[in-house]
Subunit: 427 residues, 4 copies
């Protein structure tokens, strides 16, 4: 197979995640960066594109994404680095996701888009329509689902090793916005605290949405009701920098989701704990090579990446032996790897979306579908547009709940016929 | 000073906490056990009292607590082991606390009572009246406040090292009731899941109340509003075995309190994390000799018990050098040590209650008061009857909140004039 | 059974371990302190004995140990606190162990003596003769063998769960003597760095001997050859404050034993790691409630104190439930518990020594024997005089090895007919 | 600057480290793989080179390294992917390092060679001569020196934050060769246990040499004397699988270096602990983002990668923010980054070797020198040919020491005039 030709929008000077996308996409020799529009400011874009490590060819170092779309479309399809890009990675601030990703998707390009997917559910619907029209793959970089031990956790839940899930605690604590960093001109803080560019969610949008996806990815459950308390602690900040939620899940399980950007000392402290009727598990992003598993009445077990006792998906997501730690970038690369596999299939035949999401239907796929189907037959998966859309819905409902005096806000229709719904009762 | 004469009610065969009280009370050579009524069943009581390690003198090995109260009162005051007991430790199931502790307190004995203090706020008021009448010391064994590193945490908050508190997460996860252990006849499970003996709270009463006290002890803040979701996961269990609460605190800080007895693998996993505007801290009961402290922009610090850099209260609560770990029983003994100091003062002069609680008033003391005054001048403190009463109120309000469709249930009157109240805003 | 009457020699003002002995011995209601000689200075001794927590009766608060021995012998045997002491705990600096412990042992008292047992092997032989003459129990407080998870480790090795042992690393790092603390008058540092009172070993005697016993206790192996490098890093210090040893063990296994008192940040960091042909284990004194166990090809396991999956000896050495941590003092109390059981047997019938040491012979016991027999039938054990004698021999040979230019110094005669001896070969 | 053109020798099917070199070298957009000889078997070599992720151009997918050398030399120098390779990465088994690396070095190519550098010191001298003749950069992938927190540790020692170093413990424990894996045909085990391909060292060569370099890199000290005990535990294995060494260092400090491949449960457990007169530090490869630092009398500090309080070299070695963990591959890429910087200088002007080694001389550089000069002015460094030569010398001397009955084997001439040499004395 030819190397996939990658284009990138965003990621220029002062950005953090652009470099991660570049390394992650090219790590396995499956893709090469050939085009880009590095900034919303044309001069800045071209300046960034010329520099290392981008080194974009002069004629594909674009000043605007519209120019990039138009001129890439004008290139031939086919093999070789000079042909049209196969996919675009959209790594801009949130408000630009929908127009750019939508534009490329509608034109038939595959899209890899950062999270949160877009500003609101209306935009998410437009993106779904665009993807349906274009027929390409659309992946959303909920990158934490790319970690091998997260895949192992998902596998153990799916295999019933925990029994019926009763309780989930997912948390994501950071401290980098404990003071008003946005006033210093720091680029990351600047747009993330600006509702025009970040959307209606601050911490809940930026990191809470990762927590939401991780919960769904590992447990296969949906969040059906939430009770949220959002706060903005730093004076003068428009968006929340702290969020606490009670959760009820689709099988009747209870949960907590909380995140914050004012928890000093928290660097990128994403953790999840899941307990079922038989066992519990725990995973921490900052020590991602270990997974703690606790079976009732037995010694605690620590599973580690790279060992033969792990499930195929965890082994397939691993590049080097146990004890040689892998980390953030490799997990990110695993999302790309899953998307690349789908792109390969989409190009050779009829594309069927594969997702790590908890969707039930095998028929949910199809080139333009929002299908979030777990592909049990494959060790590779990636978060889909539907996963992204649910994340946007989650953010909206959280803000709604926080403003409400009602205790519970419904998030997803619950499957009332489900016997699991009987799990747990009011004491 | 003479050794304090200790009597005990409860703690016979199958009990766990009775032995802890015995060791903790006598560890420092300040008290000796001279009398007891080991069970609510007279025959069992006498049988237990005869056995090691109790070895009660035959004439003070009582069959009922009423008999014990009456016959001890008939003994002389004064020195020597044969004189009347100085204090009674009440270590029965919850429903028996109020009559027994009340009986002894009213008669003028000092009382050390297990938590939760009693079944409801009415009983708590009766106990306060009894104590006032009797004039003795009344301590409640919120034993986790006895850990040196908890005292260090409290000190650091009080000294302003964290700045203004913004967020608190306190959790207490156990897994021992993940299946229906109470059906096996296990004594601890049996009464704790029985509303007649445990009260209206299951997990929230048994362990959630510890979490509530620990939060107040360390932060000096009151919980003003709660939003609770209690669940009973094990089929057929009458009381909650899982509790999740959103909190709002008296200075406007936000928080989470959650506890569970169905979190498999959780042994006695009480943890607290506190973040302020300057720094954050974290403590775990299962590794109690360490305290994690994180100042913005600096390396994380691990403070350890037994070092000269700790505050006087933490040093005073330590018996052996750093690296020679101390644990649960020593912390428990520190509660007794604080109570003994108060008993000594009460006997030599006018007693002034000293508490680890966050109460503000120096005038709250007095022999019969509910005063929960932090005694800054002393390294020793103990949880008071008022702390216990607040715990009972907390349990009641949590159950009320869980049954309500309203989001917030008010717990304590808030100090609306307080400028801290402005901390945090709705985004 | 009556409470055992305890006497103590040493432990007055400025001491650390005296208080530990008192609490440990009396924790389970099996013993009460009735007599003592708290210091080698008669006035200081009496002053200490009068104070809390000692509160010695005036007529048994002795000025010299000789007076104590004579006057206790003059008391009747029999029941009740006023009768002659049953045992004496010797907690003085090392140089005083042999005369005092020997004096009491020869007179028929049971003895509990701190480690290292004495100053040299000649003294150890005298002590053995004294014990044989007196017929009492003689325990040496290698207290780390009292930890439940150490007993579990020993059990797992004995059960063959690790296979044949190949490698052992035992280390004990402290930092408290990194500067010349002895010049400040600190009592602990003062005598430990003085050859007249501490003996020929500094760090190797004070803490290395604990490491040596722990290795033997857990593995059941003897150290047969050593290659030692002792250093005194702090200028002007006469004894070693750092020791590094290569080891060869009785089955051909290799090992390392190292200890130091100049490793800054080390508080009391005793650790042991053992690997066999099937599995490995690891234990750390500073987090004593956990034991790490690693079987080839399987997830790491963390065993925790207080669980039903542990061996009987580990369960018997536990007082409170899992998750309620136990620590140093409780482990110390377990050594006393084992010794008390032996004292009970010795008094009721013919005494048979029980030891945690690796001795092989069941016939090694007998009232006066040095027998270090593992009593498989009992969950209780204690380190014997023979264990102490081997420790003294180890210290002597380590100093000898350090001064030698030969690589290997023989420590114990090796069992050359043993097939295990073939384990490992020169590559 | 143009992208550096990379060639690779070795790394085909069944290899592990080849993929790591490819990702590490290309991660930062500074290099692209254009040629290779993937195996010593020509057919296998070509088959591997054709496959993803290698995708070598057909005309540069060589069957032998000699062919590769000849035909690359025939290509023009200059810009663009079709010109002659700039550097070759040699990732074969050890015995092939010297001929291949020597061949390319002599011809003027830059070389990046895996460790241990070669089979013996004679080969090392030949390599030095070849490099001198060719004038290129020669880097040896002691990759653990690429970790940011290792660079921080080195910085803190160099800044005197630990005071004078007294003791170093470096260890490297693996368990993957606990049974006779080489008999299963596993490629990694096969050559590593074969003296013809691995050399005279088993564990000591494969991983002990990493430990040796890490010690030198962090402390800046040389190992002057060793006392080694090598063992082969697995029956029928020709090389050591376990090694224990006592060390004496160039300033008089003492140390331990031990490594093993039969420590079950050890994955890649490389750790180093260093103590000086003022403070100590500890680092573990399996949790590489943290560095523990302990100053006498203060709380332990945990420094973490990605923070502004770190030294420039640690910050320069970091690609993504704190809390987003980096790991093995990124550290490996940092070695390449340092080598690339040197290659860039070598091409633009007169090359001066920069090394992380402890060499003293600024004059040690020059195009063909073995100079191992710490470049204080630069945040980038890489291990040099001299570092590699010292590693080979270390392995040889360790084997010699293990076979000797003398206690100490001299490794490096000691600087007897050095006042530090007085550090430590025989007690």
């Amino acid at each position: 197979m030819h190397k996939l030709r990658m284009g990138i929008v965003g990621g220029g000077k002062g950005a953090f995640i652009g470099a991660v996308h570049r390394i992650a996409a090219t790590m396995d020799g499956r893709a090469e960066l050939v085009a880009g529009c590095m900034s919303s400011d044309p001069a800045r874009a071209r300046e960034s594109g010329r520099e290392s490590p981008w080194n974009l060819p002069e004629d594909r170092n674009y000043g605007t994404w519209q120019e990039m779309l138009e001129r890439e479309l004008a290139r031939p399809t086919g093999e070789g680095p000079d042909a049209r890009i196969d996919f675009v990675s959209v790594v801009t601030p949130n408000h630009a996701h929908a127009p750019i990703a939508g534009g490329f998707a509608r034109a038939g390009f595959h899209v890899v888009c950062d999270k949160p997917l877009c500003m609101n559910s209306a935009e998410a619907r437009d993106l779904a329509a665009a993807q349906k029209q274009g027929g390409g793959v659309f992946a959303v970089t909920y990158n934490y689902s790319g970690y091998p031990m997260v895949k192992q956790a998902r596998h153990m839940v799916a295999q019933g090793e925990l029994g019926e899930i009763r309780k989930v605690i997912v948390e994501y604590n950071q401290g980098w916005l404990a003071s008003k960093l946005e006033d210093s001109g720091q680029k990351q803080a600047d747009w993330r605290t600006d509702p025009k560019r970040a959307g209606i969610g601050g911490a809940i949008g930026d990191i809470g949405s990762h927590a939401e996806h991780l919960l769904r990815y590992i447990t296969g459950l949906e969040i059906t009701e939430i009770c949220a308390d959002l706060t903005s602690f730093v004076p003068g900040r428009a968006l929340d920098d702290d969020a606490n939620l009670l959760l009820r899940l689709s099988n009747g399980a209870r949960g907590l989701l909380y995140c914050s950007q004012v928890c000093i000392g928290g660097e990128n402290d994403l953790r999840i704990r899941v307990w079922g009727t038989k066992a519990g598990l725990e995973w921490r992003q900052e020590e991602p090579n270990a997974l703690c598993f606790r079976v009732d009445g037995k010694p605690e077990q620590i599973l580690r990446r790279g060992n033969a006792y792990l499930c195929p998906a965890a082994q397939a997501a691993t590049r080097i032996p146990a004890g040689h730690p892998e980390a953030f970038i490799e997990a990110f690369a695993n999302v790309y790897r899953g998307a690349f596999e789908a792109m390969g299939k989409a190009q050779s035949s009829k594309f069927k979306a594969q997702s790590g999401g908890p969707g039930k239907g095998g028929g949910a796929g199809g080139a333009g579908g929002l299908g979030s189907a777990a592909a049990a037959s494959s060790a590779l998966d990636y978060p889909t547009l539907e996963d992204g859309a649910r994340g946007v819905h989650f953010i909206q409902k959280t803000v709604e709940s926080s403003q409400s005096e009602r205790k519970w806000t419904e998030l997803s229709p619950n499957d009332h016929g489900n016997e699991h719904r009987k799990l747990g009762s009011k004491p």
